[in-house]
């Protein structure tokens, strides 16, 4: 029983179909309480005022935005090395979720920045990095859309993901260097974990878990769709040939 068995599309369809209701259940059971807890039942922080409530959407989205790209990188590598179609399709399926998460992180960041810094947008290294990450998602998705042949598209987007990952990390360090000293300490994310009291921390963990489960749900749904779409393409092609 090897993990690669699940790389078989049929096996994947069976397993994911069986898994899906459970994953949906787990998503509802973590996301809803996490968000409700964060929104209604957290006290107002002395330092941030009520804006602390933004972290329950901002931090999970930002965490996912990065981790989804990492997942795409791993999936692309598996495709390029082992040629498992499900892997390539999972990377394709994940990209729009990652893009939306990046967008959420940017928008909520802007909403938070407004009262904190007095401006909607600040060229803070962290915000800048997310903007660049957003561009990488856009390019990756556009390349998938542009190429007709699905295997060619999988190969090329895989290579792009590989090269893009290196440059995304480089951009991150470049952005830190580029804007160092101007806004030190004004970043808003997980750096302050250790300072956040449990009363904020617990619902945050639940929200992050909820967002994570939502990603898993959407990823399964979208990958199933991509597999079906790929199968449809193969059938249409076969019909044309016959």
């Amino acid at each position: 029983m090897s993990i690669w068995e699940y790389a078989n599309p049929v096996k994947f369809m069976q397993t994911s179909g069986w898994l899906l209701p459970w994953v949906v259940g787990a998503t509802v059971l973590t996301l809803v309480p996490g968000l409700v807890w964060g929104f209604f039942f957290t006290p107002v922080a002395a330092e941030f005022g009520a804006t602390v409530k933004v972290i329950y959407v901002h931090v999970p989205a930002a965490t996912l935005a990065i981790n989804i790209w990492v997942m795409m990188l791993v999936a692309s590598l598996i495709w390029l090395i082992r040629r498992h179609h499900v892997s390539a399709l999972a990377a394709k399926a994940a990209a729009p979720i990652g893009m939306v998460m990046t967008l959420i992180a940017l928008i909520t960041g802007a909403f938070w920045g407004q009262p904190m810094w007095g401006t909607w947008w600040e060229w803070d290294p962290r915000l800048t990095s997310f903007l660049i990450l957003f561009l990488f998602y856009l390019g990756y998705m556009a390349l998938w859309e542009a190429i007709e042949n699905p295997d060619t598209a999988a190969d090329l987007t895989g290579v792009l993901c590989l090269v893009g990952s290196v440059f995304a990390v480089l951009s991150r360090y470049a952005a830190i260097f580029w804007n160092q000293g101007l806004h030190q300490g004004s970043t808003l994310s997980l750096d302050k974990e250790q300072h956040i009291a449990d009363v904020y921390w617990q619902p945050l963990v639940l929200s992050i878990g909820g967002f994570g489960m939502l990603f898993v749900t959407l990823l399964l749904l979208r990958t199933r769709t991509e597999i079906r779409s790929r199968r449809l393409k193969a059938l249409e092609q076969r019909e044309r040939m016959a």
Binding site: A50, T51, V54, P96, I107, W112, L218, R224, T225, R231
Partner: protein, 52 residues
């Protein structure tokens, strides 16, 4: 029941609203495309079965 946000009402409702709207949109698009592809695949398989 609604908590009091003071001067941060726009900040909080705006960011939560945008988040929930985007997530809802993503879920909706995912489900709609999923249903569409599933239908198309079924139709294609039926056709190929009857054609031979």
């Amino acid at each position: 029941m609604m908590p009091e946000f003071g001067k941060y009402t726009v900040t909080i409702l705006g960011s939560w609203g945008a988040t929930l709207a985007l997530l809802a949109g993503l879920i909706l698009v995912t489900l709609m495309r999923g249903a569409k592809v599933k239908r198309a695949l079924k139709a294609q398989e039926e056709r190929m079965k009857t054609d031979g």
